[in-house]
């Protein structure tokens, strides 16, 4: 059974279509990265999926249960972390988790036990009795993650969990998400590609409210991003770059200067030929080869390629 299924999900605000006829299916147990530039419709989609917003058209279901606005029953089975979670600053971290546990009607002893587990998981045990008003952004985000996990949800929705964090805070939150991988299905919206590469096994790319593609992270790289050869040479690489551009199996050559030489990034549509021919061509050029590397495509390459292609349309 799919953990999340959307059929024709559409949300319109006046003349603006925030989410446009979205068909999306997420397998149970997967970590799904919902990727898109700012304003693509990610947050609106998450809000529709957790029942905080009413779709204009279409429907969604979570673990087979149809999402309705104010669907109290469904909320027992999901966890949700908004983009920048706001807490009652007069509460301590422990108070807040106990409050959330009570909202989920956890029995008192179980609530305290789960609260301690989640404080430990979020690395907030030492700050448990401090008021949330004094927490750093990273601590608040980890508390947000902990509160979303209090009810052991079947599906966890994370809306831009790292966007407002510094590199250390980001790493802490991503580590926490990775720890959750084996416990629940995770739906994570983000515009940070490296976060998706690090945590997600499936990716959906959304742009202007429309789903551009949905694929496993690895297959997406294989399908859409051609490998790149990186050459670092000593001396003037311009003649070499010109020669490479003239070859039929080379699709693009980017040239960047270095201290005493140059770096070339060569894209090709025939990796086998490139592997065979490139070393000889460099040797013939008379330049000193410092580095020769075949770079695997990153999700960033795919993302830029796909969103860029749509921009041109």
């Amino acid at each position: 059974m799919e953990a999340i299924a959307c059929r024709g999900l559409t949300k319109q605000y006046g003349s603006v279509i925030a989410v446009d006829n979205l068909d999306l299916f997420v397998e149970q147990g997967s970590v799904f990265g919902f990727l898109g530039p700012n304003g693509a419709g990610k947050t609106t989609t998450v809000r529709l999926l957790v029942g905080l917003s009413q779709p204009t058209v279409g429907q969604a279901s979570i673990m087979g249960e149809r999402v309705r606005i104010n669907s109290v029953h469904l909320r027992n089975r999901i966890g949700y972390l908004p983009e920048e979670p706001s807490f009652y600053n007069w509460m301590t971290g422990r108070d807040f988790l106990l409050y959330v546990g009570e909202l989920f009607r956890l029995p008192s002893h179980e609530n305290r036990k789960r609260c301690d587990e989640m404080l430990e998981f979020a690395g907030l045990k030492d700050a448990a009795k401090r008021k949330i008003g004094g927490y750093s952004k990273g601590m608040r985000q980890r508390l947000g993650l902990a509160q979303a996990m209090m009810n052991r949800p079947g599906v966890l929705f994370l809306d831009e969990p790292c966007s407002a964090l510094d590199p250390i805070g980001r790493r802490e939150v991503l580590d926490a998400i990775i720890k959750l991988k084996s416990h629940t299905t995770i739906f994570m919206s983000t515009h940070i590609l490296s976060d998706v590469e690090r945590t997600c096994d499936t990716v959906g790319i959304i742009d202007k409210g429309r789903l551009v593609i949905q694929e496993s992270t690895n297959r997406l790289r294989e399908r859409f991003a051609s490998p790149v050869f990186e050459l670092e040479v000593e001396g003037d690489a311009s003649p070499l770059a010109a020669r490479l551009r003239s070859l039929p199996w080379v699709t693009a050559v980017e040239e960047a200067g270095r201290d005493a030489g140059a770096m070339l990034r060569i894209r090709t549509d025939d990796v086998a030929v490139a592997k065979r021919e490139l070393p000889g061509i460099v040797s013939d050029s008379g330049l000193v080869l410092i580095r020769y590397e075949l770079i695997s495509p990153s999700l960033e390459d795919v993302f830029i390629q796909m969103i860029g292609a749509r921009e041109k349309v």
Binding site: L52, N70, R75, P82, Y88, W90, V100, G144
Partner: protein, 250 residues
């Protein structure tokens, strides 16, 4: 009403932690103790200067009691608006409502818990201040009938409950607390103005305050129509607040 008790407890704790409970109680206590004291000492305060002798009427216990309940209605209304105007709107504006409403609690429960907590705060403050006023009136003046005073206080309590429900409705409609407060003030003033219109006036919600005064003076008839309309409107405004919140994007 799943989660009502959890939310109700949280609201009461919030009022205590943010000192709102204390402020409301303090304001009402000042009115409860201050009104009889001020009216008792007013003639001597005004006529302390040599040569000035202003004609100050002798206040009776009924005058003082009515003055106290009048102050409760006017100042209490302002305090209700100030305390309740951000109850829903500020939670939406700050985003705290987002975390709570993504849990298994209904939006109706969210509103009713706020109403209940505010009602407890204001009604307890009213009862405490009325008790002090009753004691002071008994000591400084010739006393007032206990049953009549209690009934008049209960009617003032109903009026405050109506003000709370109006403010919660406005707070659910507007995202800005100030806009909610302004709108609530306008609605209450309009309802107050209705009570001055002949024929309609006896059914206007504010008629309950006149009924309270009548009870203290020992004359006048019961404004049951006004009481039913006040109670009905309070319920209608809360249902309206729930429905307004249901239609909002959180």
């Amino acid at each position: 009403m799943k989660g009502f008790l959890v939310l109700f407890k949280k609201e009461l704790r919030e009022q205590a932690k943010t000192h709102r409970l204390l402020i409301v109680l303090a304001v009402f206590l000042v009115l409860g103790m201050g009104t009889p004291l001020m009216l008792y000492y007013l003639p001597s305060i005004v006529n302390t200067s040599e040569g000035t002798q202003l004609p100050i009427p002798d206040f009776t216990a009924a005058d003082v009691s009515m003055e106290f309940l009048g102050s409760i209605a006017q100042i209490g209304m302002v305090v209700v608006i100030l305390v309740a105007m951000g109850a829903v709107s500020r939670e939406r504006e700050r985003g705290t409502a987002l975390l709570t409403l993504s849990k298994p609690v209904g939006r109706g429960t969210f509103v009713v818990a706020k109403l209940a907590a505010l009602a407890v705060t204001f009604e307890i403050s009213l009862i405490v201040s009325a008790l002090f006023c009753y004691i002071y009136v008994g000591v400084l003046f010739d006393g007032v009938g206990g049953a009549a005073f209690a009934a008049a206080t209960a009617l003032a309590g109903l009026f405050l409950l109506l003000c709370i429900s109006i403010t919660l409705l406005c707070s659910s409609i507007f995202k800005s607390a100030f806009a909610a407060g302004g709108a609530a003030l306008v609605v209450i003033v309009v309802l107050w103005a209705l009570s001055a219109i002949p024929n309609i006036g006896s059914y206007a919600p504010m008629g309950v305050l006149d009924w309270g005064n009548g009870l203290i003076l020992g004359k006048g008839t019961g404004a049951w129509g006004s009481l039913c309309i006040s109670a009905g409107l309070a319920v209608a405004f809360i249902v309206g607040a729930w429905q307004a919140l249901m239609r909002k994007e959180i």
